[in-house]
């Protein structure tokens, strides 16, 4: 990977606000204001071609919302996503945008919900091919067979329905569908969370093999730190809709800087049983409708002072934390 080249995916100041107000009549009768939830609040990151960038965080941190905005399933409230020089959000030539869409695909968490149960597998996998008008007639069948072989299934499996497959096999089908339009950039939203560990290992290995073979770029969303460590070249840690730390993969685990990252790493059950001393995590992720002032992590942070409660920290050199900036973190 030539690190100095321009990034493949650029996300700038991405925002998403959900209107979670009560219905109009309730608001009038109960004299309530409108309520908004900032699911993603000013997120910026870059992904280089051929690398795996992971977003990790607890539930409610906004990981999946980012994934959906990056592939264009959810309109953005602000900010911009640029993929290979073409802005997804701005005014660009529709034909160019369409061509770009073809190169982006998504793999979802639940392989039981993401495959149409009434369609045969061959139709599911061929859908992107038909949607983009890539191939016709017998070529489609041949291509579907190739794709099935590629993900470790048999070409004859195309005649079956999704319910005839196990969870891991369904996820393979979802991967085959993602590859059908020769996508280069795949957004994976918790691709193995619904799977057993031995099957998870199969899928993670498959995803790595395919990345090597086709030079795929992954945006990998997960709550599982060990999986992220195994897969990612670079990792962004999210907390309440913001990035708190971005770091090279292994470095995040050897030298975590943000207090939240440290806390998260401490909380992971330790299979090695090294008997390390751990700092007990206090509290839970707050309600995102009324997030804490300043740095949203300050009520749980052992290093917080009054500046943290007042002022939101900016991302400096890969970490957004006043304590790190001021050198208060040991």
């Amino acid at each position: 990977m030539s690190g100095a080249t321009k990034p493949y995916v650029t996300v700038r100041d991405l925002r998403r606000v959900f209107d979670v107000s009560r219905p109009w009549l309730n608001r009038v009768l109960e004299n309530l204001p409108k309520a908004y939830l900032k699911a993603v609040d000013g997120l910026s990151f870059e992904i280089r071609k051929g690398e795996t960038f992971a977003l990790v965080g607890e539930s409610g941190s906004g990981k999946s919302t980012v994934a959906r905005m990056v592939v264009g399933l959810l309109p953005v409230s602000g900010g911009d996503v640029t993929i290979d020089g073409i802005s997804m959000t701005g005014h660009h030539d529709p034909a160019e945008k369409m061509a770009l869409r073809k190169r982006i695909q998504m793999i979802f968490q639940d392989p039981y919900a993401s495959l149409n149960p009434r369609w045969r597998v061959e139709r599911i996998i061929a859908e992107p091919i038909h949607a983009f008008g890539l191939l016709k007639g017998a070529d489609v069948t041949k291509r579907v067979g190739e794709l099935l072989t590629l993900v470790g299934l048999h070409p004859d499996d195309g005649k079956k329905f999704p319910h005839e497959f196990s969870g891991g096999q369904r996820q393979r089908i979802a991967i085959a569908r993602a590859l059908a339009s020769s996508a280069e950039f795949i957004v994976c939203d918790e691709p193995t969370s619904a799977l057993d560990v031995s099957v998870q290992a199969q899928i993670l290995n498959l995803m790595r093999d395919l990345q090597k073979e086709f030079g795929l770029t992954y945006l990998f969303i997960s709550h599982n730190l060990a999986v992220v460590r195994h897969m990612a070249d670079r990792i962004g840690v999210m907390y309440l809709g913001r990035l708190v730390e971005v770091s090279e993969g292994k470095r995040l685990f050897s030298h975590p800087r943000h207090p939240y990252t440290r806390m998260l790493l401490d909380a992971v059950p330790d299979l090695g049983m090294t008997g390390r001393e751990r700092q007990m995590v206090a509290g839970e992720i707050p309600n995102p409708i009324s997030p804490p002032s300043g740095c949203t992590f300050h009520p749980r942070c052992p290093l917080a002072n009054e500046r943290c409660a007042r002022e939101a920290p900016a991302m400096l050199d890969g970490v957004a934390c006043h304590a790190v900036e001021e050198g208060r973190s040991a």
Partner: protein
């Protein structure tokens, strides 16, 4: 080891279906001592939860206990009439379920549910029961328990709800608790809090715990001993440190290698080919033989019994059901 709180002897559980009898648990035996946490791991369909439900007497038709014994303090409880079992359940044995939202009744305040349980099983007066409920909520780490006791389940976060469920399980100071995936629905930071809580309560009260989970990390962190289940059978059982560091059964070894960890740097994860067999289609001999790369003739015909391997450098009490260790032809 002192007298076990719970002994399971050759337990078999079957489900009668239209397509025949499915054996979900096949000849499972283990003991759990006072104050001990036995972790039970395995993939979906391995029979972990069914074992837990069987012990606590919650197997519903068409399921039935088809053989074996379950002993609580040396007395059989698997053949008790419904009424007697109901008295034991909650009082002597309790259960913590995976999803705290579905195991609490959304229409009742958490306090009412706690007090109801306490009144059912003890002679306390209603006001004393309320005191007791508040003390329990405080013990499981719920802030301002005297106010929160009047809250409804939906007013609690996931982690707090699971604490309430734990308080409910502890309300009558049971001797034995089945915790079925108690942290699976929770975030890692909350999971760590709940694990620490279960460990602490178990140590302080001397409760025996059967911790069912698919997360090996949780087991490594919490359990004293671990049983690895596969297709309704115990493949390997032993002290947690020994099993995690030196797994003997090929399945257990594959499972450990398949888990990405924060310490190791494997380029590829160990891959066990295939998937767990369906209950209707469990292979002859060792259930793992079609996926095992070390299987030999005997594995296809004869089912291995759990034994303590001779000559291997293992801790006492570490038993494995695998022909590789039974001696004779093909063994190492």
């Amino acid at each position: 080891m002192s007298d076990p709180v719970i002994s399971v002897r050759n337990l078999c559980v079957e489900f009668v279906t239209r397509r025949g009898v499915l054996r979900a648990i096949d000849n499972v035996s283990f003991d759990i001592a006072k104050g001990e946490v036995l972790g039970v791991v395995g993939e979906s369909g391995a029979g972990k939860s069914v074992t837990g439900s069987a012990i606590i007497g919650l197997i519903e038709p068409p399921g039935r206990i088809a053989g074996g014994e379950i002993l609580l303090h040396g007395k059989r409880i698997d053949n008790l009439p419904q009424e007697d079992m109901r008295r034991i359940r909650g009082r002597k044995v309790a259960m913590i379920f995976q999803d705290p939202l579905t195991s609490l009744n959304p229409l009742y305040r958490v306090g009412e549910q706690l007090i109801e349980t306490i009144l059912t099983h003890t002679d306390l007066s209603p006001s004393a029961a309320r005191e007791r409920a508040i003390a329990l909520l405080a013990e499981v780490g719920i802030p301002a328990p005297d106010k929160r006791i009047d809250g409804y389940p939906h007013e609690f976060s996931g982690g707090m709800r699971q604490r309430v469920v734990i308080a409910l399980a502890l309300s009558c100071e049971p001797d034995f608790i089945v915790a079925d995936e108690p942290t699976t629905a929770l975030d890692v930071s909350v999971q760590a809090q709940i694990i620490a809580l279960i460990k602490k309560l178990c140590r302080e009260r001397g409760t025996a715990v059967m911790l069912v989970t698919h997360d090996m990390g949780v087991i490594a962190e919490t359990a004293d001993r671990v049983a690895v289940m596969y297709a309704g059978r115990v493949a390997e059982i032993g002290p947690v440190r020994d099993v995690v560091r030196h797994p003997l059964h090929p399945y257990a070894r594959g499972l450990m290698g398949a888990i990405p960890t924060l310490e190791t740097d494997a380029e590829r994860l160990t891959q066990i080919p295939g998937a767990m067999p369906r209950l209707s289609n469990i292979p002859q001999g060792c259930a793992f033989n079609p996926r095992c790369d070390q299987a030999f003739d005997r594995c296809h015909v004869e089912r291995p019994e759990p034994i303590e391997p001779q000559g291997e450098n293992v801790e006492p009490g570490h038993r494995v059901a695998c022909h590789l260790y039974t001696g004779g032809e093909g063994a190492r």
